[in-house]
Symmetry: C2
Subunit: 145 residues, 2 copies
Amino acid sequence: MTKDPAQSQPTCPIARALTHVGDAWSLLILRDAGLGLTRFEQFRQSLGIAPNILSRRLAALTEAGLLERRAYSEHPPRFEYLLTEMGRDFGPVLHAIGAWGRRHGGPAPLSVPVDAETGVPVEPVVVDGPTGRPIGSFPIRLRQP
Amino acid sequence: MTKDPAQSQPTCPIARALTHVGDAWSLLILRDAGLGLTRFEQFRQSLGIAPNILSRRLAALTEAGLLERRAYSEHPPRFEYLLTEMGRDFGPVLHAIGAWGRRHGGPAPLSVPVDAETGVPVEPVVVDGPTGRPIGSFPIRLRQP
């Protein structure tokens, strides 16, 4: 981003969210953290990302409150990164992005999320919680504050 | 992105999706298209985005199949951008991002999606379609292809 979109659109919760999760590397770091990765070297190997970019993204996600940095060694000083409640709460959104990617991302074989106990494939859908109606199946408008 | 994450992670549907929707401007253009904006100047004014960046994002979203470019004037030649089915299918994900933004994006007053007919607030939640269980409420693992 050359500019924070939340500045020009102060009432939009999407723009507000994208201040923290508006780039692919940050989203993939959150994905990997959800899969149990915690250490700089684990993220670097998983993502094939340049160390300086990874450092900046980890610092930004920590600063934003999605990750918590914790020392796991004092000599030498070493840190791991754990999802906070705010970061874990983004997990379902990542599953929704993945479901869209499976539908529209191309023909190659892709991984599938399954219930860890039963092995039954999971099919993430965004619904209106109170009514269960799928978002997109009825007209929605935005009410300004 | 300095590098396409789908290249190093060919089986991940999230990485695949982020090839197309992995930056904040693209996501905000999709949001605005979902709100009915179609023309270059409308997007430019809504987003406060530099024209060259907007041009590149519109071209990339069109190339990826999320937007369709259509002439609405021949003299002078002018184009509008409309969501394709693939692009409309991303709308529920944007609502899920917005719901997270309302929960975690800070204190200022934010817009709220409401049922266009009843005015009742909509509460986007990501669930497993077949069972209705919220994603995040039970353990999920990834099955590789």
